[in-house]
């Protein structure tokens, strides 16, 4: 069993060391477990029924969902619920052709790394470890559901009923950027960190409904630096392009449902880009199928949902394995930057001043290159994926 020293992040103020919390019931912390969940009241946002892709391109004003996220986030920010003031963290674009973004964030990481099993992408939910039913209700912003009607609906105050399998949006108390939230599908069902069709579609709905290309939604599988084994996505606002989004690509195949799959070119890490599809559901299902295939093959991966849900990047990686075998570049290891979805997208959060000041494009590229699958392994993995999404050999050869 491979083990590495991970650099974990505290995402909730109620996250404790794994071993200690064994209490059951009556905690007085206003959490989501049986002891307190009846008292929970949250706004509920129901997405509008999504039209098929091909919407009119316009310069939209701030959408309702964006106002809800920003307004609630600012409220928690002013109430001091975050571990540090994110806007006080300096940030810059690293000179070079990719435009990596570096941030000096000394508060985000715990001082003492803990052990975490990283060689298995699928691990069962462990109720004893931290999970999102243990967060305080004040860290929750609103419930979020996919809807059936032409218009979105907003209900300011709704209870959380287990039989409805509610999904919630919570703050990340160690934010990378403004508006950093967690989307937790069916929070009370206590699902492990494992992609499924319904959850992927919910994440796409959120990206689409926010209607802002600078609001991306990301996912880390276990083994690809997911922090907590309770199903969740992350999202935040950064009004700049990610280097990953600027990468050119070469089309490999189109599925029967019109989903176009391309491989990335001229990016330090190998990956796939999914876009198109006859409907959002088609795109979502294809990506889910690919993720599930990777999960079942024990290949760790990250997903970036970009451009309001119109582009989805799937990045298989092997960094943790390399790290455990001592095969990563020593410099990169020193900076203790784990390549999770944001780092892979080109947003580097650095914990030490010397790392920030000395940040170069070369170092960022090396981190991504270390996380990347080899050309050979990538081809193997692609073959698995193409089979899983119902495609035969890609056109034009690999």
């Amino acid at each position: 069993m491979l083990k590495i020293k991970r650099v974990p992040t505290v995402v909730s103020n109620y996250q404790k060391d794994e071993a200690s919390d064994g209490s059951v019931g009556g905690c007085g912390r206003n959490c989501l477990r049986a002891c307190c969940v009846d008292m929970a009241r949250l706004p509920l946002y129901v997405c509008k029924k999504v039209e098929d892709s091909g919407e009119k391109a316009r310069e939209p004003p701030v959408a309702f969902l964006e106002s809800l996220v920003l307004g609630e986030w600012e409220d928690r920010y002013q109430r001091g619920l975050f571990r540090y003031d994110l806007t006080a963290c300096v940030t810059k674009v690293i000179p070079g052709k990719y435009g990596f973004i570096a941030q000096l964030n000394e508060g985000r990481h715990l001082k003492r790394p803990t052990e975490f099993r990283v060689d298995k992408v699928l691990q069962s939910f462990d109720g004893n470890k931290f999970n999102f039913t243990k967060v305080s209700q004040e860290e929750l912003l609103f419930q979020f559901e996919a809807g059936e009607y032409e218009e979105a609906q907003f209900l300011p105050c709704m209870p959380l009923l287990a039989e409805n399998s509610p999904s919630v949006v919570a703050i990340n108390v160690s934010p990378i950027e403004y508006g950093h939230v967690l989307l937790i599908p069916r929070v009370l069902d206590c699902l492990p960190q494992r992609m499924d069709h319904k959850s992927m579609l919910l994440a796409l709905h959120m990206a689409s409904e926010a209607a802002n290309p600078y609001f991306r939604v990301g996912y880390n599988s276990l083994g690809a630096f997911a922090t907590i084994n309770h199903l969740h996505f992350q999202a935040y606002y950064l009004a700049m392009p990610f280097p990953l989004e600027k990468a050119s690509s070469r089309q490999m195949i189109t599925t029967d449902h019109g989903v176009k799959v391309s491989e990335l070119l001229s990016y330090p890490m190998r990956g796939l880009l999914f876009e198109g599809g006859n409907s959002m559901q088609d795109l979502s299902d294809t990506v889910s199928d690919a993720c599930i295939c990777l999960q079942n093959s024990n290949v760790p991966f990250n997903v970036l949902i970009s451009n309001c849900g119109r582009q989805i990047f799937l990045m298989p990686q092997c960094y943790a394995e390399k790290q455990a075998l001592g095969e990563v570049s020593p410099e990169v290891w020193e900076a203790q930057v784990n390549p999770a979805v944001w780092e892979i997208s080109g947003h580097m959060v650095l914990k030490r001043k010397e790392d920030y000041e000395g940040a170069t494009e070369e170092k960022a590229c090396r981190l991504l290159a270390d996380a990347s699958l080899s050309e050979e392994r990538f081809k193997e993995v692609n073959a698995l994926i193409f089979e899983a999404i119902g495609c035969s050999k890609p056109r034009g050869g690999a």
């Binding site: 920003l70 403004y178 392009p241």
Partner: protein, 391 residues
């Protein structure tokens, strides 16, 4: 105000207002001079909310099939469609954000709905006096298709050659290029369509011609513009990209700069101007105290001043005096907060106004307090991101 002026204003349409805003920057007959140019081009104003087109040449109208009224006031993205390549959209968006020129091929749609490829060449136009971007000029040169010499089945071959070029990662220019009628469906499926050298030269020439006209007519008006930034943007001028981002926020708010003497307003939203009844040029550069009057509670003003000094957010209920026709006063539920930029330091204060009578909660709407805070959040995102420049 003369009779002719007042009657003219009675019949001013939205189009004329926008065009008027454009002409005001230059000397008389600027529009006529631009109309004489044969090229297809548009001029946009980043300082108007929505970054709309404020001038469209006859060549542009002819190429796209729209009338002037249908184009003025719209954002350039209105001519994009479902198959417009995302990378070109992104490149244009980033060039605007970074206030630099860009030249990309992009698929656009005419009024009829038919797609066409064109070379889009855009440049920023800077004010000589304050170094800020006054306008963006965008030239459109249609790209003619290519045909392989042994051309068997024209559309297939053209389609094939474009895609193969993409796969090889290099663009092969066919010397014997003939304009070719391609199936529209095929056009939409092309991932890219490279412009020829002559088409690129045409765009450069066109951009140069437009810029010459603008320069000449701005000289006459005494407020020179040019294609290159001649001085660093002055401190109280916001970058055009920040202004564009702030323009998305539809509520009433202002940005003030605490680093400048007397903490002047450096940005005011359209909604603020509507609420207070002032014109933009009347409020920019002024301290907010012009909104206070005889009956404004001085202890509230003191409270605000304390919060500003401490760098803390606060919400106060303050009596404000408007410049609306009735010169009415109104209760302003004002929220102010410091806003940091990418260096981590406070760059501005944001003040979000809410007329107290608007506090009634409509069941399906966000709570007014939440909406007010969402403005603060949106401003934080805009300010933080707009300051991130390559060092």
């Amino acid at each position: 105000m003369s009779i002719t002026q007042s009657s003219a204003s009675l019949f001013t349409t939205a189009t004329e207002e926008k065009e008027g805003a454009f002409s005001a920057r230059y000397s008389l007959w600027i529009k006529e001079a631009l109309d004489e140019l044969p090229h297809s081009f548009t001029i946009t104003d980043p300082f108007i909310s929505g970054h709309p087109i404020v001038f469209a040449s006859p060549g542009f109208l002819k190429m796209t099939g729209y009338s002037r009224e249908e184009v003025i006031g719209r954002n350039g993205r209105a001519f994009q469609g479902p198959k417009t390549n995302r990378r070109s959209i992104m490149e244009i968006r980033e060039a605007i954000r970074e206030e630099r020129p860009v030249q990309v091929s992009i698929l656009n749609y005419r009024k009829s709905g038919s797609p066409f490829w064109m070379l889009f060449h855009m440049i920023p136009v800077f004010g000589n006096d304050d170094g800020r971007v006054i306008h963006f000029v965008a030239v459109q040169v249609p790209i003619s298709g290519r045909k392989m010499r042994n051309g068997s089945g024209c559309s297939e071959m053209v389609f094939g050659s474009c895609r193969r070029e993409v796969c090889l990662g290099s663009y092969v220019h066919q010397e014997r290029a003939l304009p070719v009628e391609c199936d529209e469906q095929e056009l939409e499926n092309w991932e890219h369509c490279e412009a020829s050298e002559s088409e690129k030269l045409k765009s450069v020439e066109a951009v140069g011609n437009v810029l010459s006209v603008l320069t000449r007519y701005s000289e006459f008006a005494g407020r020179l513009v040019c294609g290159k930034r001649s001085c660093l943007r002055v401190a109280d001028c916001l970058s055009s990209s920040l202004v564009i981002s702030l323009g998305r926020i539809k509520q009433s708010f202002v940005l003030t700069n605490p680093c400048l003497p007397d903490m002047p307003i450096v940005y005011a939203s359209d909604a603020f101007l509507t609420l207070t009844g002032y014109k933009r040029h009347e409020v920019l550069g002024q301290n907010c105290r012009f909104l206070s009057g005889v009956d404004t509670d001085s202890s509230v003003l003191y409270e605000m001043k304390e919060c500003i000094l401490k760098g803390k957010p606060c919400t106060v209920q303050i009596l404000n005096y408007s410049n609306r026709k009735d010169k009415s006063t109104f209760w302003n539920l004002l929220h102010i907060s410091p806003v940091r930029n990418a260096s981590g330091k406070t760059a501005y204060f944001v003040g979000v106004q809410m007329e107290a009578s608007c506090k009634d909660i409509e069941s399906k709407e966000l709570r007014p307090e939440t909406r007010q805070l969402s403005v603060v959040g949106a401003v934080r995102v805009a300010v933080r991101s707009s300051f991130m420049v390559t060092c």
